[in-house]
Amino acid sequence: MSDQEKGGMSRRDLMAKIGMLLNGAAVVILATPVVGYLLAPIVRGDGGRYRKWINLGELDEFPEGQTRLAKYKNPISNPWDGETDDIPCWVRRLQGESFQVFAINCAHLGCPVRWFPQSSLFMCPCHGGVYYQDGSRASGPPPRGLFEYKYKVEGGRLMIEAGQLPTLSTNASLRARSNGCQG
């Protein structure tokens, strides 16, 4: 009667099982850095590290009472990003140092909204979302108003905190503006 039939385990079976265990351990050890590598886009952005203060330009470039398209370079970028590095946004200067800086992305599904100064409306070409000049939702499918960047004026320059594609769960800026102009 062999060991196995007695309910025991032969030496070869034991070695085969240890072999499997060793391979399993190797897979786990290999998987750890692989998972870390794959999750890097999440980990890298922890604590708002994806967002930085960016210079949008001199105050004079934005006349009072007007809304203008401004561009900035992505703060986190690589040389091979090409044209995707340039990000547009809509800058509305109410008066003095009071601004509203809107993300280009429609709050519905992220398409680029266009400003129509004649009717003071933002319109989205994709599904017909429309916003008033203060970014609040006017009509169409968007669930909220336009996303806004946090801004500050420093040394005669308009700075915004940016770097992340705004969606319903990723903010344009780290904290929403407190003075309540959010849509």
Partner: protein
């Protein structure tokens, strides 16, 4: 013995495959299954092989870098001999592949082929459909143009609707905080390595199951599938009325596959390659992004769903549909196979087809979108200006200048987002028009802050003239009575 046969024997003495190959070729299929209805699976495989081949050809030139992809596509189109044609074949091949996979699926569903014992074949097929759609979407991203850029934006916006972990999902999809170099690189890896690898594995299993379980017999009304007897009945059928797969059935597969390849090449030669459209420069905001044909139904659906239903529909809808397809062979694994006695199946397929077709048709002219340049481009019809007072004409100028035309058509041109205004004066009184312009409502923005009183007066006096010559404008009877009393 010829030299060729000797070489063949030399290989077979080592590989020892000729037995299996002959057995596979000569395996009996039911005579009725050697039909023109059974050619779509092999055609899908043929187009898949064509996609692999042309994909490798394109990869010889294509640069998977956000900074260079668009330029390398231009080079493929204009700088490489017949590069445009290979791009065309790959692009049209993807259209054909999605179409044939869908037709194959409908045929299989109509013929009850997913029933016992072919449940697993069907489930693998559901995953093959999802992978095919995944290839179509990721392929559209690799054509790194404006539509690809904003398509990624839409993908990110959908991921951003996932509760709790939305931000993580967005960052994983994009490979970082925003659409950039890492985004294209990861879509390249998914399109070129991950999904094709899975596809090859799943297609192999799918085919293996067809060989092991036999091709579905032609459904006969009244011949019910029972788990206890089906396998035996099938073997009796193929024994009694079977024909060898080669050549009795395979010639139809080969004819159809060749026909499809010729069609793909004809489309590529006649229509040319897809794009690339404008550069993937997000600062060019004068763009109207649109997905490729097979995702346009979704594009239309997202315009029509009520806002409150969008997130549930986007996140739960796919789970329900995929879950239903996977579970189908388990709750309908026995019984009637013939479409003639399965009205619910037929109606479900027809309704799905009509719904998808209607949504795709609507996406062709996007009535929900404002026409961004209608206000500056479309003329006001002459008959709406002839013999009008200066105030009314000034109103027409306000109508154009304030972009009303982007959403409202007059004289058959303009946006379709709002109602056409050719007979608006019949529907609404003067006061109602003023209120509608100032306060908006019914999905129209309020213009109260953007128009001064003189502009409102001019605009509404113009709108008051918009009624057919033989129809009187709407009037407020109560107000007239009051005026009369005075």
């Amino acid at each position: 013995m010829s030299r060729l046969a000797k070489i063949g024997q030399w290989f077979d003495a080592r590989l020892q495959l000729s037995g299996e190959v002959r057995e596979t070729m000569e395996h009996p299929v039911p005579r009725t299954s050697a039909s023109w209805f059974y050619v779509f699976g092999s055609a899908a495989l043929t187009v898949f092989l064509l996609q692999i081949f042309t994909g490798i050809m394109l990869a010889l030139i294509y640069v998977p870098s956000a900074g260079e992809a668009w330029n390398s596509l231009q080079y493929l189109n204009h700088g490489v001999t017949l590069g445009w044609f290979l791009r065309g074949v790959h692009g049209w091949g993807s259209n054909f592949m999605v179409a044939i996979v869908l037709i194959h699926m409908v045929q299989v569903a109509m013929f009850g082929a997913y029933k016992f014992p072919r449940e697993l074949t069907w489930i693998l097929g559901v995953f093959l459909l999802l992978m095919t759609l995944g290839m179509a979407f990721t392929g559209q991203v690799l054509r790194f143009d404006q539509d690809a850029y904003w398509g990624l934006g839409i993908g990110a916006a959908i991921c951003g609707r996932v509760p709790f972990i939305g931000a993580w999902v967005v960052h994983l999809l994009l490979g970082g905080p925003i659409i950039a170099g890492d985004t294209l690189s990861r879509f390249f890896a998914i399109h070129v390595f991950v999904i094709p690898g899975l596809l090859i594995g799943f297609v192999s299993l799918h085919l293996l199951l067809v060989l092991k379980l036999g091709i579905n017999d032609w459904p006969m009304p009244g011949r019910l599938v029972r788990r206890s007897t089906y396998v035996q009945e099938y073997h009796e059928l193929t024994k009694k009325d079977g024909v060898p797969f080669v050549p009795e059935a395979v010639w139809k597969d080969m004819f159809f596959s060749a026909f499809i390849i010729v069609c793909v090449m004809a489309c590529a030669a006649y229509f040319g390659p897809y794009g690339p459209n404008g550069q993937p420069d997000p600062t060019i905001v004068q763009t109207v992004p649109k997905p490729d044909f097979f995702f346009q139904w979704l594009y239309a659906l997202l315009a029509y769903l009520p806002p409150a239903m969008e997130t549930p529909a986007l996140l739960i809808g796919p789970v329900v549909i995929i879950g239903f397809l996977i579970c189908l062979p388990f709750f309908a694994g026995e019984g009637e196979k013939s479409w003639k006695r399965r009205p619910i199946a037929v109606v479900t397929i027809l309704l799905s087809a009509v719904a998808l077709g209607t949504l795709t048709h609507l996406a062709g002219y996007t009535p929900w979108s404002p026409i961004m340049n209608a206000w500056s481009g479309d003329p006001v019809p002459v008959q709406y200006l002839n013999g009008r007072s200066p105030l009314e004409r000034q109103g027409a100028a306000v109508f154009q200048g304030k972009q009303c035309r982007n959403c409202h058509s007059i004289g058959g041109s303009g946006g379709l987002r709002g109602p056409d205004l050719d007979s608006v004066a019949v529907r609404m009184t003067h006061d109602q028009l003023v209120r509608q312009v100032l306060q908006g409502g019914g999905n129209m923005p309020a213009y109260g802050k953007n128009l001064n009183p003189a502009e409102v007066a001019a605009l509404v006096s113009f709108l008051d003239t918009l009624h057919p010559a033989n129809q009187v404008p709407a009037r407020d009877a109560a107000q007239e009575a009051v005026a009369h009393d005075k």
